[in-house]
């Protein structure tokens, strides 16, 4: 089956919205899918990986500039 990519743009949103939208996307995704989250809220940069950890999912974090970050979760 072909992999799908989910994009979650939560730039400008504060907690818990980035975490909530990430969790929603993970629930919609199937095994093998990829979820990319683009955000700016500093604490969500720490909390989104916590959500991935709690579900045993692998992830990468990339700092894009002074304020924004991108996290990729592999479902």
């Amino acid at each position: 089956m072909r992999m799908s990519e989910f994009f979650v743009d939560v730039r400008g949103q504060t907690c818990p919205v980035p975490l909530v939208e990430t969790r929603k996307a993970i629930r919609k995704a199937a095994p093998g899918d990829v979820i990319r989250i683009l955000g700016t809220h500093p604490s969500s940069r720490e909390e989104v990986p916590m959500a991935a950890d709690s579900m045993g999912l692998r992830y990468d974090i990339v700092t894009r500039d002074d304020v924004s970050w991108e996290i990729t979760i592999y479902r």
Partner: protein
């Protein structure tokens, strides 16, 4: 995987920021794979009453705090309470209305939003708090 968090939350205050933050706490737990049950009592109950008190219109006391909240809601930087309630249910949260508060405020079951799973008493709600965290806001 770590043991999931289990949270029971009693929302009593009608202050917009308290209800909002209570829902934020529940959403954080749900987003981390945990469980959350919420009981709307007393002055928090109107937030789950259809067409009443569920919007930013409740922010009318003129205080600096309420003005800040109103501005952030209007700018779209703060998610409104009805949206947080929808999010919580979508992520598996369970919402209940306190039977005693419904009688006190003369609110019938059919007047509550669809996200409310049922009405219950405090003792019944407390029975479901074993081995979890209980917060009263």
């Amino acid at each position: 995987m770590a043991n999931p968090l289990k949270l029971s939350l009693i929302l009593h205050s009608g202050a917009y920021d308290r209800v909002h933050h209570g829902l934020s706490i529940a959403l954080s737990v749900l987003s981390l794979g945990g469980e959350a049950r919420l009981l709307f009592t007393y002055w928090a109950l109107p937030y789950v009453q259809k067409g009443s008190g569920t919007s930013a219109e409740v922010l009318h006391d003129g205080s600096v705090q309420q003005r800040i909240l109103r501005q952030r809601l209007d700018e779209g930087h703060l998610r409104p309470i009805p949206d947080l309630i929808e999010d919580a249910v979508e992520l598996g949260g369970e919402m209940y209305a306190c039977v005693g508060s419904m009688a006190l405020l003369n609110i019938a079951r059919e007047e509550l939003v669809d996200e409310i799973k049922g009405s219950t008493g405090t003792a019944s709600f407390m029975k479901g708090t074993e081995n979890g965290h209980l917060l009263f806001i």
